[in-house]
C-alpha cells in the first residue's frame, strides 16, 4: 500500500517532458518533488504563476508570492505572473496540458466529485471545475477508500459533481487505473504488496482485470 508520497511518486512518471502542469492541493502538490531529472515541465498555479518553484527558505517568504493553496512559494527562472482571467484562459484554452487533482469520488465514466458534501462541508470548487472541464489529460490522486473504508472508486458519484466524463486515470494507494472511453476502470498496476483480490474488494465500480497485473515500479 502506498502513502501520499508514494502516490505522488507514481504519478510523477506520467508527467511528460515539455508539459505545462497544474497541480491541485494535497497529494498532487507533492508530485513536484518527484519529477525525474531530464524531464522539463513548468508548473502553473491558477492564482497567477507559470514556473512555480519550491517553498522559500526560512526568512525569505513573501506575502505577495503564494500558490493556489495560499502557501508561500518561489519562482523558477523564466517564470511569469499574470491575473486570474489570463490564468484561466491558459486552462480553458487547453494550453495547460495536464491537471493532477484530488477527489472524494470518481466514477467509472470519468465523473469526479471533490468540492462539496451537502449540509456538512462546503468549501467551494475553486478552480477545479474549470480545470476538469478543459484539460486534455486529467489524473486523479486519492486514497482508494474513505475513512469509513468505503470505496471512492464508484459506478456513479453520490456527491455533487465537479465535472463529467473527464478523468482519464486514477492513481490510488492501491492501484493505477485507466478509465476507458466506454466506461469502466481498467486495472493497470498494483501497489507494492497489494493483491488483485484486495483491489477488487475495494473497488465498487466496474473493474476490468485482464491477464497478469504488474506491481508498480517506483524506481
Amino acid at each position: 500500500m502506498l502513502d501520499k508520497n508514494g502516490i505522488a511518486q507514481r504519478i510523477a512518471q506520467e508527467v511528460e517532458h515539455g508539459q505545462y502542469v497544474n497541480l491541485g492541493i494535497g497529494i498532487p502538490t507533492l508530485v513536484a518533488n518527484f519529477i525525474p531529472e531530464g524531464i522539463d515541465v513548468e508548473f502553473q498555479s491558477e492564482n497567477g504563476i507559470l514556473g512555480m518553484g519550491p517553498f522559500p527558505f526560512e526568512g525569505e517568504e513573501d506575502a505577495d508570492m503564494i500558490n493556489a493553496g495560499k502557501q508561500t512559494v518561489t519562482l523558477e527562472k523564466g517564470a511569469v505572473l499574470f491575473d486570474s482571467a489570463t490564468s484561466f484562459a491558459m486552462i480553458r484554452g487547453q494550453h495547460v496540458q495536464l491537471t493532477i487533482l484530488g477527489a472524494m469520488e470518481v466514477s467509472e465514466t470519468g465523473d469526479i466529485a471533490n468540492w462539496k458534501i451537502p449540509g456538512k462541508m462546503v468549501k467551494g470548487m475553486g478552480g477545479a471545475m474549470d480545470l476538469v472541464a478543459s484539460a486534455d489529460n486529467i489524473i486523479v490522486a486519492m486514497m482508494h477508500t474513505n475513512r469509513a473504508g468505503e470505496s471512492k472508486v464508484l459506478p456513479k458519484c453520490s456527491l455533487p459533481l465537479t465535472g463529467v466524463n473527464c478523468v482519464k486515470k486514477v492513481v490510488t494507494n492501491m492501484a493505477v487505473l485507466d478509465i476507458l472511453p466506454e466506461g469502466g476502470f481498467k486495472l493497470l498496476e498494483r501497489a507494492p504488496g497489494v493483491s488483485v483480490e484486495e483491489i477488487v474488494a475495494a473497488t465498487a465500480g466496474k473493474l476490468i482485470v485482464e491477464g497478469e497485473i504488474p506491481e508498480m515500479n517506483l524506481g
Binding site: Q71, D83, G124, M129, D130
Partner: protein, 234 residues
C-alpha cells in the same frame, strides 16, 4: 493633460457607498486584498452588501471582518474554505452564497468590464453550477451560458500607481484585481506606493488608468500570510 484620480485617503475614496450595494473586492486568499477599504467599510457599518470576491477572508482578517459584523448579505465566491464564521453563517442560512468556478468568476468580471454581456464556458456543465443555464454545443462539447458581472464599486489593491490611475501589481497579488478593476462602476484603487506621474513605464502598466476612478496610498498594509510554508537551508 492626464486625468487626476487622486483622493485624499480611504474616507474620500469610499464616498457614496451605502447599504444594499454590490461590491467587487480583489485578492486571492489574503494576498492582494484591499485592506484599507475593507477596514473603512467595517467602520461605516453599511449593511446588506453583496460581495463578489474569490474568497471570504479568514475569521479575523479580510472579508472575515465584514462577516463578523454581519454586514454581508450575499457572497459570490469560488472558494471559502478558510473561514469558520462564513461556514457557520452559510449552513445556518444567514448568509446567501453563490459558489461559482474560479475561471468563470474571473471571466464574468472581465466580461462585465469589456462589454460582453455573457459567454459560453465548459466549466460547470453537468454539475449544480450548470443547472438552469442555457447549454449549447460547440466543437462537439457542451457549454453553459454565464452572465457578466458588474459592481457599484470595485475595490482593488496594487503595488504602485499614479494619479492617472495606472496600476502595477506585485507577485501573485495581481490575481482578481485587474479584471475586477474593469468591472466596477466606480473602481477604487489602494496602492502601497503612489508614484509621480510619468514614473511608471507605460510598457509595464498592468491596469490602464481608464478603469480606475479613485486612487489613494493606503495608510498601512498588514499583508498577512495565510499559510507560511518554508524549507530548511540544510
Amino acid at each position: 493633460m492626464a486625468m487626476n484620480k487622486l483622493v485624499s485617503g480611504v474616507e474620500e475614496a469610499l464616498e457614496g457607498v451605502h447599504d444594499d450595494m454590490t461590491f467587487m473586492l480583489g485578492g486571492f486568499g489574503l494576498c492582494g486584498i484591499p485592506e484599507n477599504c475593507i477596514a473603512e467599510l467595517r467602520k461605516r457599518g453599511i449593511k446588506n452588501l453583496t460581495c463578489i470576491s474569490n474568497n471570504a477572508g479568514v475569521d479575523d482578517f479580510g472579508l472575515g471582518l465584514l462577516l463578523q459584523t454581519r454586514q454581508i448579505k450575499k457572497m459570490i465566491s469560488s472558494y471559502v474554505g478558510e473561514n469558520d464564521e462564513f461556514e457557520r453563517q452559510m449552513l445556518s442560512g444567514e448568509l446567501e452564497v453563490d459558489l461559482i468556478p474560479q475561471g468563470s468568476l474571473a471571466e464574468r468580471c472581465l466580461a462585465g468590464g469589456a462589454g460582453i454581456p455573457a459567454f459560453f464556458t465548459p466549466a460547470g456543465y453537468g454539475t449544480e453550477v450548470g443547472e438552469g443555464k442555457e447549454v449549447r454545443m460547440f466543437n462537439g462539447k457542451p457549454h453553459i451560458l454565464e452572465a457578466a458581472l458588474t459592481a457599484d464599486f470595485a475595490f482593488v489593491k496594487a503595488w504602485k500607481g499614479d494619479s492617472s490611475g495606472n496600476l502595477v501589481f506585485k507577485g501573485t497579488a495581481r490575481n482578481f484585481n485587474p479584471p475586477m478593476a474593469m468591472a466596477g462602476k466606480i473602481t477604487v484603487a489602494e496602492v502601497e506606493e503612489l508614484v509621480p506621474l510619468g514614473e511608471l513605464d507605460p510598457n509595464f502598466v498592468h491596469t490602464p488608468g481608464i478603469f480606475v476612478q479613485r486612487i489613494f496610498q493606503g495608510a498601512s498594509f498588514e499583508k498577512r500570510i495565510e499559510q507560511r510554508t518554508v524549507r530548511s537551508k540544510n
